[in-house]
Structure formats: C-alpha cells, structure tokens
C-alpha cells in the first residue's frame, strides 16, 4: 500500500541545534515508563554492588549469625526437634563417689568451668531470608553474590559485545581478504567446544572475578559477531551508505557513524542475552573450580549449594538467589528493550 501516514500532532520543538541520535534517544527513553522503571532497578542494583564492593553493606557475609539452616523470619523459628536419644532415667543418680577415683576433683572442675566465659554469640533462630548450612545470612550472601555475578555478567557481555561488534563490522563492511581471515577465526572459535576453550583460557588467566569476565567474553563473542557481520553486509550496500561514500565519508565514519546506529538494536538484544548467559556460565566455572574463589560468593555458588539443601527441605537459599537473579535479569532485558525502542526514530511519538 502506498498510503502515507500523517504526522501526528507533536509538541513543537524549540531546539535551535539539530539534536544527535543519542540525545534524542535519551529524550524518548524518559517518556517510556517501563523503560525508566527498569532503568531505576538496574541502577539500584549497580548502587548495591558499588556499596558491597566498598564494604558498606554485606561486609560480614561470612559471619555465622544464625543457627545452621535458620528459617526465614516470616516462617518463625523451627519447631524444637524431638530428642531421639534414650530417655534419661528418672530418680536420683547412683552414688559412685566411693569407687570413682576422680570424685574429689569434680567440685574443682565445676568451679573452673564456671569461670570460663563463652565467646560464642547467641545464634539467631531466624534470619530475614533464612540461613545456609553454616548459619550465614542468605540475604547478605545474595547481596555480596550480586557483586560478583553482575560484575562478571556485565563486564563479560560488554567485552564480548565490543569484540563481536568490532570484528563483525570489519568482516561485514570490508569483506574480501579481511572477511576471510575473520571468518576463519570465527570458525576456529566455534569449532572448539566452549567448555574446552574456557578451560584453555582459564589455564592462562588463572582464577578471579576479572579473569572469569575476560574468559567468558573471549568465548562468547562469536554469536554476536555473526549477527553484526550479517547486518553490516546488508547495510553496507544500502543506498544511504553509498550516498555517504559519495559525499566523501571515510570507511570508519560510514561503519560507525552511519551503519552502527542502524544496527544497534541487534547488539543490544544480543548483549542482554549474553549478560544472562554469562551469569549462568559463571556457575559452571565456579563449580569446576575455575570461577570465583572458595572464599567468595556469587549467585552461581549459591545455586550450587542449594542443590544439596533442597533435599533436606531448605529451599530459601535457592529462592533468594533466584529472586535476585530474576529481578535483575528482567529489569536488564526490559531496559535494553526500552533502549532499543528509544534508538529507533520511527517510533517517535507513536507510543
């Protein structure tokens, strides 16, 4: 159909200078309620992570504040366990003092024992979101775990997106020899099973949160590369890119100023998927002993611990880790969605 849609009544814009694509996108984002809400949630998470990293919150996540497997507060303390030991016989003890050689010292020991002060703090019966098998607070663990997981997920996805976009842009835009070499590299990376590749990189980079992010990004860029390359292949022969060449725009300007904003939605969607994937991958790495250290906590290690607890009916660690992960991932996906919409000028004024 050749119908031309009319311009909808829009507020007159009094801006003097022509606004850039990013500036305009920001203005559009501010009008998207879901987008702003998700942006706030993500910002809160990031604030939490910064505070945790600075030690302002969740510093004492390793302190065993509750009884082992303490129940969440709203469930109340666990019912006292029924004693399964043999019943203590009633009636007075049989007096053995005349045959017991230690009998004269009992009095002395009792006095000395009374003098000793116990250092163990009283353990809470319940914790806000329950406790783990050592009695550590699950809430603090989840907050501290967010620091590791979100850091790994975001940094890894960002690095993967940069590598994938850069190589994909080069391969798609130039093609020819450059494209062949990059395709070869891509084939090598996808031909090796991910887990082997991760092991190989892990052997080089060693343990630690930073290395996990780097390892994951070095393994995870391939899918994004393929998609970005396809988009660049498609766009590099479009007339608007030709027109840019005709006015003398350099290849770099054509790639990153003209084409990139037009394919950014692909990168955003891919990146939000990568964040989710990397958070999960970190679990596997930690499980294999290549991820975060044993004295660290992440959502991944919490989930791994939850496995054995679940059999005993202690579900709260699983619930806490899942809740945090679900909220963050949902908010992050919605935020990237909103960003993608905001970057599309065609949707301006059509909400």
């Amino acid at each position: 159909m050749s119908a031309v849609l009319p311009k909808l009544p829009s507020k007159p814009v009094a801006a003097e200078r022509s606004e850039g694509v990013w500036h305009a996108a920001w203005k559009r984002l501010l009008q998207d309620r879901v987008g702003i809400a998700s942006l706030i949630v993500v910002a809160l998470f990031i604030a939490l992570i910064v505070l945790a990293a600075l030690g302002a919150v969740a510093r004492g996540w390793q302190v065993e504040t509750g009884v082992p497997n303490a129940r969440p507060s709203f469930m109340g303390p666990a019912p006292p366990e029924k004693a399964t030991v043999i019943e203590v016989p009633k009636g007075p003890n049989v007096d053995l003092s005349d045959v017991d050689p230690l009998a004269p010292r009992y009095q002395e020991w009792a006095e000395r024992a009374a003098k000793l002060k116990t250092t163990e703090a009283p353990r809470a019966q319940t914790l806000p979101l329950g406790g783990d098998r050592l009695g550590r607070d699950v809430l603090t663990k989840a907050i501290k775990g967010a620091q590791t997981s979100v850091f790994v997920g975001l940094l890894g996805a960002l690095c993967a997106a940069i590598i994938g976009t850069l190589l994909g842009a080069l391969a798609g835009f130039f093609g020819g020899k450059v494209g062949d070499v990059l395709e070869w590299l891509y084939n090598v990376f996808t031909a090796i099973p991910d887990i082997l590749l991760i092991l190989a990189f892990a052997a080089i980079f060693g343990r630690g949160v930073g290395s996990v992010a780097i390892i994951l990004s070095l393994v995870g860029w391939t899918g994004l590369y393929r998609q970005v390359r396809a988009e660049f292949l498609k766009h590099s022969v479009r007339e608007y890119v030709r027109a840019a060449e005709a006015i003398g725009a350099s290849p770099v300007s054509r790639m990153f100023k003209h084409i990139l904003p037009n394919v950014s939605h692909v990168i955003f969607v891919r990146m939000s998927l990568l964040v989710v994937g990397f958070i999960k991958y970190e679990v596997i790495l930690s499980y294999l002993g290549l991820g975060v250290g044993v004295d660290d906590v992440s959502w991944g290690t919490m989930l791994a611990e939850a496995q054995s607890e679940l059999i005993l009916g202690y579900w709260w660690q699983l619930a806490a880790a899942t809740l945090f992960m679900a909220v963050f991932i949902t908010a992050f996906s919605l935020m990237t969605d909103a960003l993608r919409d905001a970057l599309d000028p065609k949707l301006r004024g059509l909400e």
Partner: protein, 566 residues
C-alpha cells in the same frame, strides 16, 4: 450491465495509538462510493496518500489490524463488511484475486513458481497435484511466459521483474476470478515491460470476461486500460466518469492538473505544470534559458567500460561486461540523458564515474577526464576533493537517507567532511538556506527521514548534494520512484537549479518522456552498449534504431479514442 462490486460511502480510519488517553484516528478514506460493473475496468487514480490502495484493500479486508471500516461493500449481493474471516478466505483468490505492485516481494522466494501457482488451485478448486501442475503450465502459457514447462520449476529470483509479474497474474487468474484487483501492477517495472503487462491484462480481461479494479498514480497508464475512471485525492473522490469524458472534458481542477503534469513526448516545455499551480490557476510563465552550445566541457569520457567478476564453480570466475565502451562529452550547464531498460548498464556507468564500485569487483577501462585528470585512475586520497564536485542522487528516496540521522545532520555532515564553512553554526545556516531552496521549511532540520514523503525526501537528497557546490550531478533514476505529480515538482526544481547554478546533469532514466523534458543530448543503452547517441530532438523525432522506437512506443499516452470497429 449488472453491478459486480458496489462500494457505498466507504470510510476507513486507522487507530494510531493513544495520546493523553485519547485514541488518535487517521481517516484514510472519507466516504467513497463507486460501482464496478461486470466485464469492465474501473481505475482508481490518485497520488500517494490519496487512499486509493486502502479503498481497494478494504474490499477483501487485507488491511492492517488497526483499520476500522464503515459504509457498505457489496459483491454479488453479499455484504463484505459483515463477512466472517472464513467467508472472506473463500472469496480471496477464488472470486476476487489481487496483483500487487512489487512482484519481487509478493512472491515467496523459497517456493518454485509451479508450487505457488498450484496453491490456489488445490485449495479452492480441489485439484490433485498432477492436474494442478498441468493447469499451472496452461496458465503460464496464457500469460505469455516463454518456456513455461521449465519455468514451473524456477524460483522467483531466477525470473526477471516482468516475468515475476506474469507469474503473479497467472496466480491471480488460476481460479478464474470475477474481479481482479491490480494495485499499481506496473509501477515497479520498466516502460517496455509495463506496456507488455498492460496489454496482457487487457487481453485477459476480455477473454475471461472479468472485471478489473486498476489502481495507479499515472493517468497516462489508466487512460489506456480503463473504461471508467475514479480520481481520488485526500481520501475523497474528486471526479468519476467514463474514460473518454475524463480525458476530453475533465471537470475537476485536480483532474486537469493531473493530466497536465506528465511530461510528454510531443512537446517540450520549459516547466511542467505542478498540481498546486494548476489548481491556483497560474500558467507556467518562465521560459528556459537558452543553452550555450560552446560551454566548457566538464567531463569527457572515452570508451568507458566496466566489468564484473562472476563466480563460476569453486575457484573459477568469468568476466561480465556491464558497460561496453561509452563515450560522451558533458558541457557545463547541459544535461546528458542516459536511457535504457533495466540491465542495460546505465546505472553502472554512472556509478563507475563516481567510483562507487569496488575496484575488486571487476576491471574498468577507458578514461573519464574531469578537470584534466582521469577519474578512473585517481587514488582514493586524490578522489576525495573530486567527490565534492561530482554528486549523485539515487533512485529510491526511502533508502538513500540514513534513517537514524536528522535532516540537519544529513546536510551538515558533507560540509564537515569537506570543511565547507568555518564552523557548525555557519554550516547549519547554509543547510537552512538550501532547505529553503528546495522548498522545505526550517522545521525539517530536526526531523527524521521517515517523517517526509517520497518527493520531499528526494528534495532533501538534492539539497545534500548542493551543500558541496558540485559541478556535476548524476541523477540515477532520480524521479522514477515518485508519483507523476511529485515527479513534476522535482523535475522543475532540477531545471531551476541548473539554470541558476550552471550544474551539469547526467540524467539516467528508463522514461523517454522525462528525458525529453530534461536532456540536451541522449544516449540510448542496451545490454551495456551505446546503440544510439544524438541531440534530444534528433533522437526523439527521427529515431534510427528499432530499440529506441520501441522505448518510445512503450510510453503511456493516456486515452486515445478507440477505432469504432474494435
């Protein structure tokens, strides 16, 4: 004659989402009534946005989900507005069939032609697979497809545009419909193919005694096929009547303007009539400046040739000569028209001059002297200052502007690259001045391309070229994608700019009537070869080649009284 399809007071509105809680509606069709009698061709004519396609698509409810229809559409006594989806599906393809504008996108690329023609046969007529194939072959013969048996197994991309449209028509005819809706069926095709398709449609309509609802923006085309014409503008019917009356004695000012704005082969005016001028009653007054035949030569091309490598097998490659030796001289302030069908190499020649083809794509030979230097042998560094002086306007205004750039950014960017102007403020001032020059107002600076119509976008593309003060403009089918009325505006603008700035144009087109209006010298190309080259009057008045005559014969001429015997 009994009435087959009757449309009474049809209104179509599109819901456009809520703004401040109030549903926004856009009325595309505001009360349209007309009848399609049996065995008759009714044409809906109008510009983009006139609601003609929306009207036709509401017959079978092929509209987007946000459309609301009111009024009455009666087809053979049945009310189509109240019809259920299964009822409509029974009608679609069976009693009412459609042919769309772009055959390339209307055919499914992963099925063979045969499979696609068989689908309605099996679905509506209940034929077996073998019978359906036989019928499909017969249909391809009927639509004049060469080698029909082999084509049944071909995929759509293996066919040319004209052949694809023939397949679409064969599909539409498969169940012998009573009404064929043809929505701009020839707009995406070359003039010569357009003529063939139009003749085919007229022949088939007579043979099968069906009715046709023909939609077009071009009165010239309509005049040749229609019996009855409905002229639409802004969602209302401006005028309707028998074709002879509309052409001989148009009552409505808009119809008169539509008739006047198409360039013709017969006369060559200084300006074309523009719809608004005509309605306002202005006569075209300005007289074109006489061209200086001894103006300095800007580009001199000799034996310009360009080949592409085609891959054959795994390692082999074969040379395909797209342009085989074109020579011409282009003088300042003059226009060279390059004419030919698709695939004749005219666009390749233009892009080779601009060096917009990858050098690895294939070898280039010959020379193109520009200001004492050979364009084909400049390094890309040396090419940069030359780029400023030779600019290009592409065919498709919907694709040639970056959708993520505001118009301001689009116009300022070339000036930044070539350091035209001192600072951004000066560049923006210049951009605003150029927008005014192409008849767009200041508010355009902050808008994005999708907020403009095709004609406006093409004017923006022209403004972008002008930012660099070029000496040569390559216009690659620059008006082919535009409506006839908008085309006139853009052609006038180009003429004015040439007079004012002394630009030289290389005007590439398949439409000889447009070339006649613009060009001083014409080059006719076919299969990469220049087969005829001379002054515009000479070529059009005394064409030497059969091919040129055919191109001229293909141009729609509007309504001609048919011989009484026919």
């Amino acid at each position: 004659m009994s009435v087959l399809l009757s449309i009474q007071d049809l209104k179509v509105a599109f819901r456009m989402g809520r703004i401040d809680g109030v549903m926004q509606r856009f009325e595309a069709v505001k009360g349209v009534s007309f009848d399609v009698p049996e065995n008759t061709t009714v044409a809906l004519v109008g510009e983009s946005g006139s609601g003609k396609s929306v009207t036709a698509m509401s017959v079978l409810n092929l509209l987007p989900d946000n459309a609301e229809r009111q009024g009455a559409i009666t087809f053979m006594g049945r009310d189509l507005l109240a019809a259920s989806v299964p009822e409509l599906q029974g009608l679609r393809g069976r009693d009412i069939a459609c042919v769309f504008q772009d055959p390339m996108t209307s055919l499914n690329p992963v099925f063979t032609v045969g499979q696609q023609i068989c689908e309605p046969l099996v679905k509506h007529l209940g034929l077996g697979a073998k019978q359906a194939m036989q019928r499909a072959e017969a249909l391809l013969v009927e639509v004049g497809m060469p080698e029909p048996k082999r084509r049944l197994k071909a995929y759509p991309h293996e066919l040319s545009g004209g052949q694809q449209q023939r397949v679409m028509i064969a599909m539409a005819l498969a169940c012998e419909p009573k009404l064929l809706i043809a929505d701009e069926p020839t707009t995406a095709l070359d003039v010569t193919i357009q003529r063939q398709i139009m003749e085919l449609l007229a022949k088939l309509k007579d043979k099968h005694r069906m009715s046709m609802l023909f939609i077009s923006h071009d009165l010239g085309v309509v005049g040749e096929v229609a019996d009855h014409v409905v002229v639409m503008r802004h969602g209302t019917v401006r005028e309707q009547g028998p074709v002879a009356r509309i052409f001989a004695d148009p009552h409505d000012a808009y119809t008169k303007a539509l008739l006047a704005c198409r360039p013709t082969l017969e006369r060559r005016g200084a300006r074309l009539m523009v719809i608004d001028d005509h309605i306002a009653g202005h006569a075209s007054t300005s007289v074109g400046k006489a061209k200086d035949p001894s103006a300095p030569v800007i580009i001199e091309a000799t034996a310009l040739a360009k080949s592409f490598w085609l891959r054959t097998g795994v390692f082999g490659r074969r040379e395909f000569q797209a342009v085989k030796g074109a020579s011409f001289r282009l003088r300042r302030g003059h226009t060279l028209g390059v004419v030919g069908e698709s695939g004749s190499g005219k666009t390749t020649m233009g892009l080779t001059l601009l060096r917009l083809h990858e050098p690895s794509g294939g070898p280039t030979s010959g020379s193109a002297m520009f200001d004492g230097r050979d364009l084909l042998r400049l390094s890309s560094r040396e090419m940069l200052p030359v780029r400023r002086r030779i600019q290009v306007v592409f065919q498709n205004p919907y694709a040639s502007l970056n959708p993520r750039f505001t118009i301001g950014q689009t116009l300022v960017e070339p000036m930044t690259i070539h350091r035209v102007g001192q600072d951004n403020a000066e560049r923006e001032a210049r951009a605003r001045a150029l927008l005014a020059k192409v008849d767009l107002d200041d508010s355009a600076m902050h808008k994005y391309p999708h907020e403009f119509s095709g004609g406006q976008r093409q004017r923006i593309a022209i403004a972008r070229c002008l930012t660099l003060n070029p000496e040569v403009l390559v216009l690659d089918e620059a008006v082919s994608a535009l409506d006839v009325s908008v085309q006139a505006q853009v052609l006038n603008l180009l003429k004015d700019l040439q007079d004012e700035l002394g630009l030289a144009y290389i005007f590439i087109s398949h439409d000889l009537a447009v070339v006649r209006f613009m060009a001083d010298e014409v080059m006719v190309m076919r299969n990469g070869e220049v087969i005829e080259q001379a002054g515009v009057e000479q070529i059009l008045d005394r064409p030497q080649q059969e091919y040129t005559k055919r191109l001229m014969g293909a141009i729609p001429r509007g309504y001609r009284p048919r011989p009484a015997a026919a």
